[in-house]
């Protein structure tokens, strides 16, 4: 992975930059000694590491503004960081950058059940947002599997999704407003507790901009009342094609489940060995969950089971109680862990039109043989968001590169059938150099024009999202 050479002039000014940052932050909020700084050298894409110049941990919007003002004056790049769970290297520092961590921005600012929103500082973890309103029967809907750790700031930057987004949408559909600090230190409010922008929808483009347009310090989020209940049903099929057809038929029938999850044989086998959830051994397994009162659940599951039965399932199991529901979800929730037991893995998240599911799974199987690397598929089938997990051995020389090449082929296939490179994890550095597969130069230039407007000096989260050769002219113009 090519990264720009660090700016030697910045490295030589480290002491002065650290001193200036210390002058605007509480004691201990600037981390600049070698061993401590290494805590920030990578995110969850651990194959790539680089300690930053220093890290800062501000506690308020004002402190973030003061930090950015200094960095702007000094011409120092800034890499924002939430909890560092990005799977795309979105929070990977460069050696000449100040890493701005949101860990100390974790307060709840305001909650309104009448108007159904919560306002939090952006470093608060996803799960603890729900935690703040749960006792009163409310929840924050987007639920990435990393929700115990990941921060709202990272969720907004990546426009993260979760298992229940089929019904509730992803981050952008649940975000009402932000307080954002521009690279020059200017603070602005965008959106708020009311709905929909009057002018251009800047909030829409900030969400998913991977920390490159501004630093988000506060967010207003939509909260919802918890449903009366939820219940899953598990079904097994002896071919991916049939399971894909079942997904399509359920959607067409007018039932809107909250989740439709899909696992293929390699994944079922790994999961069974690891979690012993009692899954049937078959080619494809679906977990479909619906919500509502007991009677409403019965009605919806009745319809779903009717559709499922028509396609000759090898197994059709409805949860009778919370215990059984837990067991049905157990395997799915341990899938990543189970695959990790077998080997190192790389997790992709290309999205495809649901109708292309059988074809894409077959092609992935063929490629897996050609590359000689195992792959398991576990994913959100309702919306076509695949998660192929490619198994490799990091200690075998050349295997990481082989795995990356296999991954790139899978993502190209996703684009070829009408899909995209990433459905929820973001581009970061991981998919940066594949952007040309999905977008023309003009398409990328249009996106970079947005960056030119928000961050004219191109200092925020450098070397991510856009191929370096595509962004070169913009960066030169900015310097």
């Amino acid at each position: 992975m090519q990264m720009p050479d660090p700016d030697a002039a910045i490295l030589s000014r480290k002491a002065r930059i650290v001193e200036r940052l210390q002058s605007v932050l509480p004691t201990g909020a600037v981390i600049h000694e070698r061993p401590e700084v290494r805590a920030y050298e990578c995110d969850a894409l651990t194959a790539y590491k680089c300690p930053p110049l220093c890290a800062v941990l501000p506690t308020s919007t004002e402190e973030v503004s003061a930090v950015l003002k200094i960095c702007h004056e000094e011409g120092v790049p800034v890499v924002p960081r939430g909890a560092g769970t990005s799977l795309a290297g979105g929070a990977l520092p460069t050696a000449d950058a100040v890493l701005l961590g949101t860990a100390r921005l974790n307060a709840v600012i305001e909650t309104s059940y009448d108007d159904r929103y919560i306002r939090v500082q952006s470093g608060r973890t996803n799960l603890s947002v729900t935690g703040a309103v749960e006792a009163d029967g409310f929840f924050y809907a987007p639920d990435p599997s990393s929700q115990l750790a990941c921060a709202i700031a990272g969720n907004i930057a990546m426009n993260s999704g979760g298992a229940h987004c089929l019904k509730y949408g992803v981050t952008t559909n649940n975000l009402l407003g932000v307080t954002m600090v521009m690279m020059d230190g200017t603070v602005t409010e965008i959106g708020g507790a009311h709905l929909d922008a009057g002018g251009l929808d800047l909030l829409g483009v900030i969400c998913g901009s991977e920390g490159q347009l501004g630093v988000v310090t506060e967010a207003t989020l939509r909260i919802l009342r918890k449903p009366e209940g939820a219940r899953p049903v598990l079904m097994g099929y002896d071919s991916n094609e049939v399971a894909g057809q079942v997904v399509s038929d359920i959607i067409k029938a007018g039932v809107l489940p909250v989740a439709i999850e899909f696992m293929d044989r390699p994944c079922i086998e790994a999961t069974e060995a690891f979690a012993k959830a009692g899954y049937p051994m078959c080619e494809a397994l679906l977990i479909v969950e619906v919500e509502g009162s007991e009677a409403e659940i019965d009605e919806q599951l009745g319809l779903i089971k009717q559709i499922a039965s028509k396609h000759n399932p090898v197994e059709l199991r409805e949860a009778k109680d919370a215990d059984e529901a837990g067991r049905i979800w157990l395997g799915r929730k341990s899938a990543f862990g189970a695959m990790g037991q077998i080997n190192d893995y790389m997790c992709l998240d290309g999205t495809i039109p649901v109708s292309e599911l059988p074809y894409v799974l077959r092609r992935i199987g063929e490629m897996s043989k050609a590359y000689g690397l195992g792959v398991g598929n576990v994913f959100h089938a309702g919306d076509g968001n695949m998660h192929p997990l490619i198994l490799y051995d990091a200690n075998t020389p050349g295997e990481l590169e082989k795995c990356e090449a296999f991954g790139a082929d899978i993502l190209k296939l996703c684009v070829e059938v009408g899909g995209c490179l990433t459905g929820e994890h973001g581009v970061g550095i991981e998919k940066r150099d594949l952007m040309g597969v999905q977008y023309t130069r003009a398409d990328l230039a249009a996106q970079m024009a947005v960056k030119d407007v928000f961050d004219p000096a191109w200092l925020l989260n450098p070397a991510k999202v856009f191929p370096l050769e595509a962004s070169a002219a913009h960066r030169v113009a900015a310097a």
């Binding site: 009311h194 909030l203 009342r225 067409k252 009605e299 919306d383 947005v450």
Partner: protein
């Protein structure tokens, strides 16, 4: 009138333009500061490119009439979830509303509070910018975070960043049954409280509106028949402190009630300017009391207020500082030139928006000034 029939022709027309272009889809939503310029119509950019009911996906050219899209969806038991307003009754316009006009205005009706706005259902766009460059963003799949989200940016940009040629939308199944729960005689404050209680319940209300003139507060429930009956009952119980609820069952009756709420047909024949106010619901009644409006209608549980104002009156001056935005929807050309049609923005947002327009339309020829 310029009527390009393809993206290439549109690109050519924009490159060749020597002055401002007034972009018209169906032309049924003449909202914004009036634009002088050569008319460019999307009339010849029509057709459904792809419709996969099993994937809830629709790709359609921008000049396609909304009615044609709705007919295609209805044939498969599906619908546009965000329930776009038909501006014709309110604005007294004729002709045929297009998909491009809906997207360019982010037109979203009563169901917005339950499922999201037009922008939330947009999966991808193709458009031609002010330099004639043909661009795309997003795609046709349900989840896509590949690069910046220009799809949202194009929604509600009133043609000022580019002329849309094609949009990909997520659609949803139509419902089996519906009902309207009606409460009577509530004050505006109590009506908003009742709507908040309903929207904060687990019973999935898909519309919450209040008509102070009729003294009626409406809550819509949609879904499978037994579920609709169950939830209508539970909502009625929940709101017992606000009086006895009247429940009207049936899809047809419910559709009629909510089409009138969506299109604000009550204000259609009445003199005066029409404003649209987006605020947090609990702020709405106090703002209405200050407004000097001749009549109001609440939608979105109080978060959206339609105000019928004396001609030429400046609603924003009456409200003073408030959090939210007020848009002038219907007024004479003179008033729409005298008052900012859109809520003036804070300086940073205004600078960013101006900067974006300058990038996408450096010559300033696409609907110049329409957004103020």
């Amino acid at each position: 009138m310029i009527t390009p029939a393809s993206e290439a022709e549109l690109s050519e027309a924009i490159r060749a333009a020597e002055g401002p272009l007034r972009i018209v889809g169906g032309g049924t939503r003449p909202i914004g500061t009036p634009v002088e310029g050569a008319t460019l119509s999307t009339d010849a950019l029509t057709g459904i490119e792809l419709y996969e009911p099993g994937a809830l996906t629709l790709v359609v050219k921008s000049g396609t009439p909304v009615a044609a899209v709705e007919a295609a969806l209805e044939a498969e038991g599906q619908r546009l979830p965000f329930e776009p307003i038909d501006h014709r009754p309110l604005l007294g316009t004729k002709n045929v509303p297009t998909i491009g006009g809906i997207v360019a205005t982010n037109a979203s009706g009563p169901r917005r509070i339950a499922v999201g706005a037009c922008r939330d259902f947009m999966l991808g766009v193709r458009f031609v910018d002010g330099r004639g460059t043909i661009l795309k963003n997003g795609g046709r799949v349900m989840k896509n975070v590949t690069g910046y989200d220009l799809v949202k940016l194009m929604a509600g940009s009133y043609g000022t960043l580019g002329i849309l040629t094609e949009v990909a939308l997520k659609v949803l199944p139509d419902v089996d049954d519906a009902a309207t729960v009606t409460l009577s005689g509530l004050s505006d404050v109590d009506a908003v409280r009742a709507m908040s209680a309903a929207l904060g319940s687990p019973f999935e209300v898909s519309g919450a509106a209040h008509d102070p003139e009729a003294g009626a507060t409406y809550l819509r429930i949609e879904g499978f028949a037994t579920s609709v009956a169950y939830r209508a009952g539970r909502i009625s119980d929940l709101l017992a402190q606000f009086g006895t609820a009247d429940v009207t069952h049936g899809k047809a009756a419910t559709a009629e009630t909510w089409a009138a709420i969506r299109d604000v047909t009550d204000f259609a024949g009445r003199d005066g300017d029409v404003w649209r106010l987006s605020v947090k619901p609990s702020d709405a009644p106090a703002l209405v009391a200050k407004s000097g409006a001749e009549a109001v209608r609440y939608d979105w549980g109080g978060g959206l207020v339609w105000l019928l104002m004396p001609e030429g009156a400046d609603l924003r001056a009456k409200l003073g500082t408030f959090r939210g935005h007020a848009t002038l929807i219907r007024a004479s050309d003179d008033t729409r030139r005298a008052l900012p049609v859109f809520q003036p923005e804070n300086p940073v947002v205004a600078r960013l928006s101006e900067g974006l327009r300058a990038k996408f339309d450096p010559r300033g020829i696409l609907n110049p000034g329409v957004m103020g």
